[in-house]
Symmetry: none
Subunit: 229 residues, 2 copies
């Protein structure tokens, strides 16, 4: 059985149906498709090459990878279209692209036990239909080894916190990391008086005030300082 997000094009639905697959349209939270066979549940994210490149640029891809790999032991991202053309369209450098490929492959799981995400590049949507068809068939045939169970690491909480703290203006990843060491829950950070925030390495008086104001509201602060109005 294949679950298909309601946002996906109608004609793909028809085509899949033609192939004799049982498809159900539904609003999906995480991926665009979910292939369910026996005990296997494999999400598939379909992206046009253009969207793929764009999502690398704005960081959406990494969030999605994170979502997929923390929620499923195994999933696919299928890029449809010719990537190098999309790169040209967007004026995206090859260096940046290659680097982000490595970044995503390294980040998604390497030495831990998170789920893995396989990225596949196909040329046309027709290939994509084939892809789903074969994926379904292989699973039916049981031509798979048992999928691993994912165990979410404690680190995930910490990473989410780091991300959270680094949303505070003036706080980047480095300072966020140090903040997490001291304030391991948002509550602690909120309850901390300014002098305590100041004690964190890399955070001085001015910044501590700014952080405090951001958390508690206070006076609207000029972010970045130079506000030429």
């Amino acid at each position: 059985m294949i679950l298909m997000d309601t946002n996906e094009p109608e004609w793909i639905y028809s085509k899949l149906h033609e192939q004799g697959l049982k498809v159900i349209r539904k609003k999906l939270e995480i991926a665009d498709y979910i292939v369910k066979v026996h005990e296997y549940v494999i999400p598939v994210e379909r992206k046009t090459s253009n969207d793929y490149v764009a999502s690398i640029m704005d960081g959406r891809l990494f969030k999605q990878l994170f979502e997929l790999s923390t929620n499923y032991p195994f999933s696919y991202i299928v890029v449809v279209g010719i990537i190098s053309e999309a790169l040209m369209d967007r004026g995206f450098s090859r260096r940046a692209f290659i680097s982000s490929l490595i970044g995503s492959s390294l980040k998604r799981s390497p030495y831990g036990c998170r789920g893995q995400v396989v990225t596949i590049n196909l040329e046309t949507d027709y290939d994509f239909i084939l892809f789903l068809y074969f994926l379904h068939r292989k699973l039916m045939e049981g031509d798979v080894e048992r999928l691993p169970r994912i165990n979410v690491r404690k680190r995930d909480r910490k990473e989410a916190l780091i991300m959270m703290y680094s949303c505070i203006p003036g706080v980047g990843v480095d300072r966020a990391r140090k903040l997490v060491e001291v304030f391991d829950t948002p509550e602690k950070l909120i309850r901390a008086p300014i002098y305590q925030i100041m004690r964190v390495e890399g955070i001085g008086e001015k910044l501590a005030y700014k952080i405090y104001r951001f958390l508690h509201g206070g006076v609207e602060d000029e972010i970045g300082g130079t506000t030429t109005r």
Copy 2:
């Protein structure tokens, strides 16, 4: 440090050297290259697209995947060249190709603690050099299991808050936006009791609990999982 098989072309060696990488030529058993940084040992198999297609056909690819994944926790196969052209050259059908692609991605990974093999397709050998360069650099930087930097403009307070809230597991941009409407400072969110969080549109009981626990510490939660209480 990069180990490079003696069979690999001389000019790649020179190029890598130019990039300031320390390369040692050596007869390698398993892969063509091995990138060693800190505790990481990552083998890289370089294949021309022609050879890739051929190795799918005669089953060599499966053997190599097996070798890599049983000996190393993480490795790369880098296919250099345009695959669809290689398919034409060899008279290999798209169906067969896609089918075997799935076959190898399903087989290579799953089960137990076997390593995963990531396949990447690049167009030119120059890209391949870049690939090794960045792989080495990322490992040096320890940029391995780190989350991506969030690069959104923090131009105003509200945007920053939305980003911040959306770092909470289970909260995406949409929910974050609604949260900000109700809790316009992090302090208010922290001080809110669960029933108040629940009242926000799109947030149910379970999620409200999860959010609360994330903010206040509480029991370690499995992201996306059901929570026992």
